[in-house]
Symmetry: C2
Subunit: 375 residues, 2 copies
C-alpha cells in the first residue's frame, strides 16, 4: 500500500492505535503536542537521543526493517542502562522517502514495539515526515533513576577495576560478513547484466530471456549457517538490563559506566578523560566469542583491533572499586579486563607478550559507517 | 575548516564547551549517555520532538543556517507552550553531509543557542553523525507544567470560543516569495550557462570569460524590501510564550490548545476530532497581516486559503469557555474567530457572504514541503 493512500493521519493512527501504556509515570502518550510524564521528587529523569541515517548507520539491502526498528530503540535504551537507570518512555521520529510503503513502516514499528515491550518501555510520541532520499530514524529515550544510583563517566579512580559485559567485536564481524556477502551478490548481478548486454548485442533473444529470468530470481539470501551469532549481534543487539540488575543485586555500585557503541578503545578514553585518570587493559582479558575469532582469521584481521575499535557491541563498560574484586568476579557474563591508573600513566593496552601500546580514540571520519557521537 | 580536521569529539567540544546551564532541574547536561533532569512531584514532564530534513523542511539556497537553527528549536518550544507548559531543556541531533564545514555547524548552533537563551532553555545533549546526502536536524524539547495547568487538545466543549494569537498565512507567503525569487535567480543562472555554451561552441574566448565572471559574481540576494515581515515569519518564527503568560495572568485556562504548524484548518480538525465537537469559524475574523494580503493578491492566491492551509505560523489556537469572552477579548494580539459546536454540526468556515464551507484536513503528500505529523 502506498503511504499516500492512507494519508499522514491515517498512517499515524495505524502505527499507534494499539499502543499500550505500561508505566504509571506516563500520563499522556501519543496524540498531543507533547507526551506528559510524571516522576516523583525521589526520581531523576534521564534523556538520550540517537539519529540513524540510511547509508550511514544501516544498509537496507541486508538489514530487515523489523531488525532496524528493534535496534534503533535498543541503542537508546542501552544509554539509559549505562547511567544505571531504567528506561520508561521513547519518542520516535521518522523521515520516509517515497519508496517506503505502509508495510515497510509497519515492519519497522513491529521491531520498535517488540524492543519496547521487552524492556517495558512506552512509545509516547514522535514525528512522521518525508525525506527526499533515504530513511532517517530519530529516537529519544527517557528514563528514571534514584539520584544516588546514577553512574556517570567521570567517577573512575586509580586502582578501580575495569569490567566489560558479554564479548566484543562480534557486531563488527557481523557487519564485515554482510558487506562481503553483499559484494558477492552485487558481483553476480553485474555479471548477469553484462551477459544480458552481450546477448542483446548479438540479438540472442532466447539467451536474453533466460538471463532475464535468472536475474529476476536472484535473491539476496546468503547461507549464514554457523555465523548466526555474528549477524544477530549486528542486527539485533540487546541492551544489557540484566547486567545493571545483576550489579544492583550484588550490591555493586560502579564508579563509572558507559555503553560500548563506538568501540572499547574510544569508550575507555571517554571514561579516563572525564575521570582524569589513565588505564591499563590486558589484551588476553578482552572477552571474545569463538565465531568472532574465526571470522577475523578468515578475513585476515587482527581480532583485538576488531574488539577495540569495532563498535556497536552495546555491552557495558564500567569500573568498580578494587574492594569489589571478589563480588564482581562472581557475576555471570562480566569480565575484569584491567585497572584504572593515575593520569600521568596514560591509557595503554598490554599485549599478550607484555608490550604496552597507547590506546587511541578513533578519529572522526564522516564516511565511516556507524561513527556517531553521543554527548 | 573541514569537519574532519577537528574530528568528531573536537567538533562536539567546540559546539558545546561554553553552554550555560540555567535551570536547577538540569542536574547534568551534555557529556554523558543521558542528560539528567530533576522535577519535583508537583511538576509534570513534557516531551516533544521534531525531525527536519533538508529539501523537505528547508532549502539552504535561501535559508541561512543561523535562522534554521533558531527555527528548529522554536518549533519544539512552541509545542511545549501549546500544552501550557514551560520548556526547560532541549536535545539536538544532527546528521551532516561532507559539504558542511565547521563554520556552517557553528552558524546553525548560534541560531539554536539564541533561541534557547531567549526562552531560558538548556541544551543538554544530542548526537552528531554523518549523512550521505543532506542535513537532518532532530530536536527534542522537554518541559514542565503543574498537572492542573496542562491543556490538551481534547478539552473543547460546545459553545467554547475559538481563539488564535497573532496572524495567519504570513509564513506561507514568505515561503512563496522566496520560492519565486529562487526561481528567478535559477533562471538567470541557466541563461548565463546557455550563453556560455554558445560562446564555447563559437570559440568566443573573450565572451566566455566575461560570462564566467558574471556567473561567479551572481549572488542570491534579492531585494526583499517591504516584505521583511513575511520573510521573518517564515525564517525566524517566534514561539508564543507571551500568549501563554498573558492567559495565565488574565486567569484564563484554555479548554483546549495547540500550536498552528500545519495550518488553521488542519489544527481545528484535530481539536474537534479529539474533543468530539464541531466548529464554526468566521472568514472575516481570521487575523491577517497587510503584507500577507498584498502578497496573496500579487500571486493571485486566495488569502483565506493561505491562512487556513499555509502552515508554519506557530501561533496558538485555543478554546476558552464562553464566560471568558470579556477577558479574552481584552488580551493583546488574540482574536476570537469562532465557536465550538455539537459534533453533528461538523466543522465549517462561514464566508464573508454568509455561506458555509466544510473545513478539510489536508491530505498527506510526501513531497509537499513542511507537512509533518506531530503526535
Amino acid at each position: 500500500m502506498e503511504i499516500a493512500e492512507l494519508g499522514e493521519f491515517g498512517l499515524i493512527r495505524r502505527l499507534t492505535e494499539d499502543i499500550k501504556i505500561e508505566n504509571g509515570s506516563t500520563i499522556r502518550g501519543v496524540g498531543d503536542d507533547c507526551a506528559v510524564l510524571q516522576y516523583t521528587g525521589e526520581r531523576r529523569v534521564l534523556v538520550t537521543t540517537d539519529l540513524l541515517m540510511e547509508g550511514v548507520h544501516f544498509d537496507l539491502q541486508y538489514v530487515p526493517l523489523e531488525h532496524l526498528g528493534y535496534k534503533s530503540i535498543m541503542v537508546n535504551l542501552s544509554d539509559v542502562y549505562a547511567m544505571n537507570g531504567t528506561p520508561r518512555q521513547v519518542t520516535v521520529s521518522l523521515a520516509l522517502s517515497k519508496r517506503f510503503r505502509v508495510e515497510d513502516v509497519e515492519a519497522l514499528y513491529r521491531g520498535m514495539r517488540l524492543a519496547c515491550e521487552r524492556h517495558h518501555v512506552d512509545l509516547v510520541g514522535g514525528d512522521t515526515t518525508s525525506s527526499l532520499t533515504g530513511l532517517a530514524i530519530s529516537v529519544t529515550a527517557i528514563g528514571e533513576a534514584r539520584p544516588r544510583d546514577i553512574v556517570y563517566r567521570d567517577g573512575a579512580r586509580a586502582t578501580d577495576l575495569i569490567c566489560v559485559s558479554g564479548n566484543l567485536g562480534a557486531a563488527y564481524m557481523g557487519l564485515q560478513l554482510m558487506e562481503r556477502e553483499k559484494s558477492v551478490f552485487n558481483t553476480q548481478v553485474e555479471e548477469l547484466r553484462r551477459q544480458m548486454a552481450e546477448a542483446k548485442r548479438t540479438n540472442d533473444e532466447a539467451r536474453l530471456s533466460a538471463l532475464s529470468t535468472q536475474l529476476a530470481q536472484l535473491d539476496f539470501q546468503p547461507d549464514w549457517s554457523g555465523r548466526e551469532y555474528l549477524l544477530e549481534r549486528q542486527l539485533k543487539p540487546e541492551a544489557r538490563r540484566d547486567i545493571v540488575e545483576a550489579l544492583r543485586e550484588a550490591g555493586i555500585q560502579p564508579t563509572a559506566m558507559m555503553d560500548i557503541s563506538d568501540g572499547l578503545s574510544s569508550e575507555l578514553m571517554h571514561i579516563c578523560t572525564q575521570s582524569h585518570t589513565g588505564c591499563r587493559v590486558y589484551e588476553e582479558r578482552i572477552p571474545l566469542d569463538y565465531q568472532t575469532a574465526v571470522m577475523a582469521e578468515e578475513l585476515n584481521m587482527n581480532v583485538t583491533t576488531c574488539a577495540l575499535n569495532g563498535g556497536e557491541d552495546y555491552e557495558l563498560l564500567f569500573t568498580v572499586p578494587l574492594t569489589m574484586n571478589e563480588r564482581v568476579s562472581q557475576l555471570e557474563d562480566v569480565k575484569v579486563i584491567g585497572y584504572i591508573t593515575e593520569p600521568q600513566l596514560g591509557c595503554a593496552l598490554i599485549t599478550r607478550d607484555g608490550q604496552e601500546f597507547e590506546l587511541k580514540a578513533q578519529g572522526w571520519n564522516p564516511l565511516k559507517r556507524g561513527q556517531d557521537g553521543e554527548r
